[in-house]
């Protein structure tokens, strides 16, 4: 069918293709896209023209976390107006530290969501590993660092157990991790015993979320990162020799400005929190693996459709398994953060809304629930949105019922805006694409 269409319209199509190529060779991609749209409009009287401005579609296209970032700004401005305290150094510093439990969990969730899987056990893993850390440090009396390693190893083992079930026995992850959610919760309660709470009096454990790196060091690290991000973008622009549009600088420039801004704000209080540095390190590692390594790229292929990936010789089972091991380990990182922040491990640690907040954060940040789409930055931006709303409503002395309702509405709104923007951007691009390839009459 389609081939007939191709043949029938080849004459008209070729002309347009040639025109489109000329445009590309002559200049930038952005221009080409617009040209494609203009042609579509010109060749079809009354044809629909997309109203999405090119800088906006550029942002949506490049940075899936971008809409989330914009929401964050809106939320910040709103709460600042309402409470006059939201944008102070001490509050933002607090907010960042509070988020350090959620971000690693959301990051682990992004990894499995990209594979079109889900992990519902991460909340319980947070709880169980915080209890393990508590018992190790407070009761067994191992050094703090060994306790942390043991907790991380236990998280990895829990992830490996579930991953084996999912990857090798092929039980849906939804079911396996519901089992894990209940099972690891049981483990957590068993470890904590009848009294239910374990206080952790250990200065090093507390320092994980309670210490700050000095202002000077913060500036050096933040500044170096900002310079590196911008330099990399500039180098790539130059290497591409004009084939990339200038719009590709928008995101790196914003990111760099954001980094400098964040360091400045945090330094105005006590400095950059150590936990935040740890979390950023994990995010960068995750980003690098997903964007620049072979197994990372294969994650996207598998998440899009596992069968072609398998047929291309990709070790689908191995990658699925590994993703759950990493998710479990990141759950344990969340457990360490929670234990450190509360100076205790209790039956409620890792419970409540933590897991669904993590999934919500990943999705708000632009990660698809159906696999193959998303970035690690979703974990950060989504988690910050969730925490910022909760923090802001606290400042306004809002009650819990109101808090939950507002959070629910924001999740829905953020995902709706993202979906609509994406759909419009996709439509305009598709319009151009069809014009260039088939040649609509």
């Amino acid at each position: 069918m389609r081939s007939e269409e191709n043949i029938g319209q080849r004459g008209a199509g070729d002309v347009r293709v040639a025109a489109a190529r000329e445009v590309r060779d002559g200049g930038q991609r952005g221009a080409q896209l617009e040209e494609g749209q203009r042609q579509a409009g010109a060749s079809r009287p009354g044809g629909r023209q997309s109203r999405v401005p090119s800088w906006l579609s550029a942002i949506v296209e490049q940075g899936t976390a971008m809409p989330a970032l914009i929401s964050l700004v809106v939320i910040a401005v709103f709460f600042e107006i309402e409470s006059h305290y939201f944008l102070t150094g001490s509050n933002l510093s607090n907010l960042v530290v509070q988020t350090t439990t959620l971000v690693p969990v959301a990051l682990g969730e992004v990894g499995v969501l990209l594979l079109a899987e889900i992990d519902l056990s991460l909340g319980s893993i947070v709880g169980a590993t915080s209890a393990i850390l508590g018992v190790m440090v407070s009761e067994v009396g191992v050094p703090w660092w060994l306790g942390m390693i043991i907790a991380l190893a236990c998280g990895a083992a829990m992830g490996a157990f579930q991953g084996a079930w999912i990857a090798f026995i092929r039980i849906p992850s939804f079911v396996v991790t519901i089992g894990g959610w209940l099972g690891f919760l049981g483990l957590q309660l068993f470890i904590l015993g009848p009294q239910g709470t374990l206080s952790i009096f250990n200065p090093q454990v507390a320092a994980l979320t309670g210490s700050y790196i000095p202002g000077g060091a913060g500036w050096v690290v933040g500044g170096a990162l900002a310079v590196a991000v911008v330099a990399r973008a500039l180098l790539r622009l130059r290497a591409a020799g004009g084939r990339r549009r200038l719009g590709s600088l928008t995101l790196p420039a914003l990111a760099a400005a954001l980094m400098v801004g964040v360091v400045a704000v945090l330094n105005s209080y006590k400095g950059v929190p150590t936990a935040f540095v740890v979390v950023m390190g994990l995010l960068f590692a995750g980003w690098w693996i997903l964007q620049h390594t072979r197994p990372g790229r294969n994650v996207f292929a598998i998440g899009g459709n596992p069968e072609p990936a398998r047929r291309a010789g990709i070790g689908v089972r191995r990658i699925r398994f590994t993703a759950f091991v990493i998710a479990g380990t990141l759950g344990a990182v969340g457990g360490l953060m929670a234990a450190s922040y509360n100076s205790s491990a209790g039956t409620l640690t890792g419970g409540g809304t933590l897991l669904l907040e993590a999934i919500g954060a990943a999705v708000i940040g632009g990660t698809s629930l159906f696999g193959g789409q998303g970035t690690v930055w979703a974990a950060l931006s989504g988690a910050l949105i969730m925490s910022a709303i909760s923090n802001g409503l606290d400042l306004m002395n809002a009650s819990s019922p109101v808090k939950y309702m507002v959070q629910g509405a924001v999740v829905l709104l953020a995902v709706t805006v993202d979906t609509l923007l994406r759909r419009r951007a996709g439509r305009s691009r598709r319009l151009g694409g069809i014009t260039m390839s088939v040649g609509a009459p």
């Binding site: 996207f300 292929a301 459709n305 072609p308 990936a309 291309a312 694409g433």
Partner: protein
């Protein structure tokens, strides 16, 4: 080069292949024809490691091999263009062309994928097939037309070093010109010393490039004909199961 002896496979009671033996030599094009459900694709999948046969003896270069996974097939120098499930729709053209064998800058478990080095080979592979309608090779494959996707899938077969190339209906959805280029590619592969297995529904195509034609009928081998000694009518009769 490749010999598949006594290949049998059934899917839960339905016999897809029953004791089929075929072979293809270096520098030879073997066409595999037959009605829908005759077992052509199943045979291709078995040789490419996608499906495991119930019973089969496979030989590559005379050595008995066990092709348990697509990765094993690839390491044996077997490259396949499948009929369906051949592309990762959410990835772009470059990533699809190099799917599973991305070029990397470092070695080790975490290869650093080098996109820049894949651009040129991608452009070359597409231009070899005269695919000029793909404006941007960083476009996700989902946004391409059916013919363009098929072209991307076939272009995969022109990359890298392969001894045995299996093409399962490679010209489906392609324009006349692009189909002709695929047939040129088949000839080039043959001249380069590859063994090519071509599954096709088009008798003209088969008679254009094949050296021998193997006909499958209801999972059984109905006959192998040398092109020089047969006629399209004879092949069609075999495809229909003997009666015309």
């Amino acid at each position: 080069m490749l010999r598949a002896v006594d290949v049998s496979k059934s899917y839960g009671g339905v016999v897809a292949l029953d004791g089929v033996t075929v072979s293809v030599c270096r520098g030879e094009v073997l066409a595999l024809v037959g009605d829908n459900g005759a077992g052509k694709s199943t045979l291709v999948k078995i040789v490419s490691g996608v499906v495991r046969a119930d019973k089969a003896e496979l030989y590559v270069l005379g050595n008995s091999v066990d092709i348990g996974s697509p990765a094993v097939a690839r390491s044996l120098g077997i490259r396949t263009v499948h009929q369906e499930q051949k592309l990762a729709e959410n990835l772009d053209v470059i990533e699809n062309l190099f799917l599973g064998e991305e070029l990397a800058r470092w070695t080790g478990p975490l290869h650093m994928v080098d996109f820049n080095s894949m651009v040129r080979p991608t452009e070359v592979a597409l231009s070899k097939l005269r695919i000029t309608t793909i404006a941007d090779i960083r476009t996700p494959v989902a946004r391409l037309s059916g013919g363009q996707r098929q072209a991307v899938a076939v272009a995969r077969a022109t990359l890298g070093q392969y001894r045995i190339v299996l093409l399962d209906e490679p010209t489906t959805g392609l324009s006349v010109e692009a189909s002709a280029r695929v047939m040129d590619m088949v000839m080039q592969l043959r001249e380069g010393g590859c063994a090519v297995v071509l599954v096709s529904q088009s008798i003209e195509e088969v008679f254009e490039v094949a050296d021998r034609v193997a006909v499958l009928h209801h999972g059984r081998l109905a006959g192998v004909f040398a092109r020089a000694e047969t006629t399209p009518e004879e092949v069609v009769t075999a495809v229909m199961g003997g009666q015309l």
